[in-house]
């Protein structure tokens, strides 16, 4: 057991898998010699050599295309997209090619690859470097999606992603890179599609992801002071989605609040809310509330950005309005 940052957990998770399986390789912009712009891949090139950890040009289509071709031909490649916003530059390769090829070929092609990418706001980088794009990926059949909320999960979910025989996009949250946690020594491997109840409660279910998990937890602590017992669920994985944990919780509490960092329309909160409205409508004791950023790009000004991203205050207020 040792204290580990989220940032270092990324490198540890990757190293754990590269150590185990020689077909695991990693590429990306500035990931090798420089150790990544967020310092998440430091030491990997030195440890695994320049053939297995390699810098690329600024060519996201080439990077993701290379992952796909390599995965077809016996490797388990990991590629970094420096910011998740750059998914849009190679969206065709990711959403039209990587996602659809197994199905379109009747199962002939396996694509065991991982795309890692720095996601989310709170860093004053402005609208093109702050997006939360997990729902955009979730919406594409054929892609799996995880978004760890703490260092331990970074390792466990990274390992699960690398070992999975399908393409997985791992969203690493920029605001969490400095987060520290005591993490067990030795191998950590999770299963995809398992949500965690991080705070148990009985009055309302708060579903959150990545950097919104600490926000939800803080809200739950404050709600407790107001006498409201909130259950906080860290979804961890959007595809596959642990609807059992989620629906079980909402059936018990009768209330659901989702806390998303993405803009308003068609986020994962909408999916979750719709599932609830279709499958357990009669268990609800109040409206399903989605807390999101407004339907805008994230502004760069600190004051405006903080206003835009869901805060514990907004969660508390929404829950109290529900009671």
């Amino acid at each position: 057991m040792a204290e580990l940052t989220y940032r270092h957990a990324v490198a540890r998770g990757i190293a754990q898998e590269m150590e185990r399986d020689p077909t695991v390789v990693m590429i990306g912009e500035d990931v090798a010699a420089a150790g990544g712009v967020f310092k998440t891949t430091e030491g990997l090139q030195a440890r695994f050599g320049p053939e297995r950890v390699r810098d690329t040009p600024i060519s996201e289509q080439a990077i993701t295309g290379a992952l796909m071709g390599a995965a077809m031909n016996g490797l388990r490649p990991i590629g970094e997209l420096m910011f998740s916003d750059f998914l849009m530059v190679c969206w065709d390769i990711v959403a039209n090619q990587i996602a659809k090829t197994r199905y379109m070929t009747g199962g002939q092609v396996s694509l065991p690859l991982v795309i890692r990418t720095a996601n989310g706001g709170g860093t004053r980088f402005g609208g093109q470097h702050s997006q939360s794009l997990e729902a955009m990926v979730m919406a594409i059949p054929g892609l799996k999606v995880v978004a760890p909320a703490n260092p331990r999960d970074v390792i466990g979910l990274m390992a699960a992603a690398v070992r999975d025989d399908d393409p997985v996009v791992v969203f690493e949250h920029k605001k969490l890179f400095a987060m520290k946690q005591d993490v067990p020594d030795g191998e950590i491997v999770d299963r995809l599609g398992v949500a965690t109840v991080v705070i148990p409660g009985s009055d309302v279910t708060i579903a959150a992801l990545a950097a919104m998990v600490p926000v939800a937890e803080e809200a739950a602590r404050r709600l407790k002071e107001s006498g409201v017992s909130a259950e906080v669920i860290d979804l961890r994985s959007l595809v596959p989605l642990d609807t059992q944990t989620l629906l079980g919780s909402v059936s018990r509490t009768g209330r659901l609040v989702t806390v998303e960092e993405n803009p308003r329309l068609c986020g994962w909160g909408a999916e979750v809310a719709s599932i609830v409205a279709e499958e357990i409508l009669w268990d609800l004791d109040g409206p399903v509330v989605r807390i999101t950023t407004p339907h805008i790009p994230l502004p760069s000004s600190a004051e405006l950005e903080d206003l835009a991203i869901p805060s514990p205050e907004r969660v508390v207020e929404a829950v109290l309005r529900l009671q």
Binding site: A66, G69, M72, G74, N96, M104, G106, Q108, D164, D165
Partner: protein
């Protein structure tokens, strides 16, 4: 650098490849008009020498990446004809189980690593497959076919640069048939040769080959594939050719001048190669037999398709994931 083709065996292989591709695609056209092949279909009629020349130069294990206009490439790597037509017809015997259709013919065991319907997308994918060959030291080469129109899309540029700097064993083959869908390539490029005139950007020599001459294609293919296999890195080849039919489906291709069409029809890769073989002393009966065999292969395949059932409805939700299903929740 062109290697001269000498063996008669090879020449018969090339001829057989072209004839099989020709008869096969002519039948696909007929079946499209009959409503058995559905959706769309992009024929390589007239472009068979490229497919035959490259296929004959590849080794088992080498990997072909092609476009929607890749029926001939997929066939000539060894995919069974019935399963190819079956796929275009959306039958259960289809090589992709009816899920891909004419634009996505794939036969992984044969090295036909997919047909891609988004212009340019497969170039970086082919580079990636070649990269894995290097890392895994398999000695495989990837060959990636695309059209003249694909040279103006971003993925072309990214893939060429990427393959060049990593010296990947991938051969990029531009089948320059002078047209995109209905617009001539010359209207949308500021250079003469869409591929060859871009090669220097990637530190590569400009390579142009007569894409209707099976011998010339095969010689070029042999050279660039062996260069790649030896670790000499990628090549970019421009093969000049022409499609006999319209872009897709029943497009009559009226946007092309009559005299141009006629000139190219006269320069039919099958016709010129047949004449060449006869001149080289190969008996007409040998060639006739190849043609007869090819026709009966096509007839057999057609029968298989006519008799095939539609896909089992249960397959609608299979094979999204490696576990065989498509579930996204518990």
């Amino acid at each position: 650098m062109v290697t001269v083709v000498t063996t008669p065996d090879l020449r018969l292989t090339l001829y057989r490849g072209m004839v099989r591709a020709r008869y096969f695609e002519q039948r696909v056209y007929d079946l499209f008009l009959e409503g058995i092949v559905k959706g769309t279909t992009h024929l390589g009629l007239g472009q068979e020498a490229v497919a035959a020349g490259f296929a004959a130069a590849m080794h088992p294990g080498d990997m072909t990446f092609c476009t929607y206009r890749g029926h001939n490439h997929t066939l000539l790597r060894g995919a069974p004809m019935g399963a190819l037509i079956g796929e275009m017809a959306g039958r259960s015997i289809g090589i992709c189980g009816g899920k891909g259709g004419s634009m996505h013919l794939t036969d992984v065991p044969k090295g036909a690593m997919g047909s891609y319907a988004i212009v340019g997308a497969h170039l970086p994918i082919a580079a990636g497959a070649a990269w894995a060959a290097v890392v895994r030291k398999t000695g495989q080469v990837a060959v990636c076919f695309f059209g003249d129109g694909a040279t103006n899309i971003g993925a072309f540029h990214e893939a060429l640069n990427f393959a060049a700097i990593w010296r990947l064993p991938v051969v990029f083959v531009c089948e320059n048939n002078l047209y995109m869908e209905y617009t001539p390539i010359s209207a949308v490029i500021p250079v003469e040769h869409p591929a060859a005139d871009r090669a220097r950007s990637y530190g590569l020599p400009p390579l142009i080959v007569d894409g209707n001459d099976a011998d010339a294609v095969h010689a070029m293919a042999t050279d660039v594939i062996e260069l790649a296999r030896r670790g000499g890195g990628p090549s970019l080849v421009e093969a000049k050719t022409y499609r006999h039919k319209g872009h897709s489906r029943a497009d009559p291709g009226t946007y092309r001048p009559q005299h141009e069409v006629e000139a190219w029809l006269a320069y039919d890769p099958l016709r010129i190669y047949r004449d060449r073989l006869l001149e080289a002393g190969i008996a007409a009966s040998t060639l006739d037999q190849i043609e007869r065999e090819s026709m009966s292969e096509v007839d057999d395949a057609t029968e298989q398709v006519r008799n095939a059932s539609p896909p089992d409805p249960a397959t609608l939700e299979t094979d999204l994931w490696a576990d065989g299903g498509s579930s996204w929740r518990n």
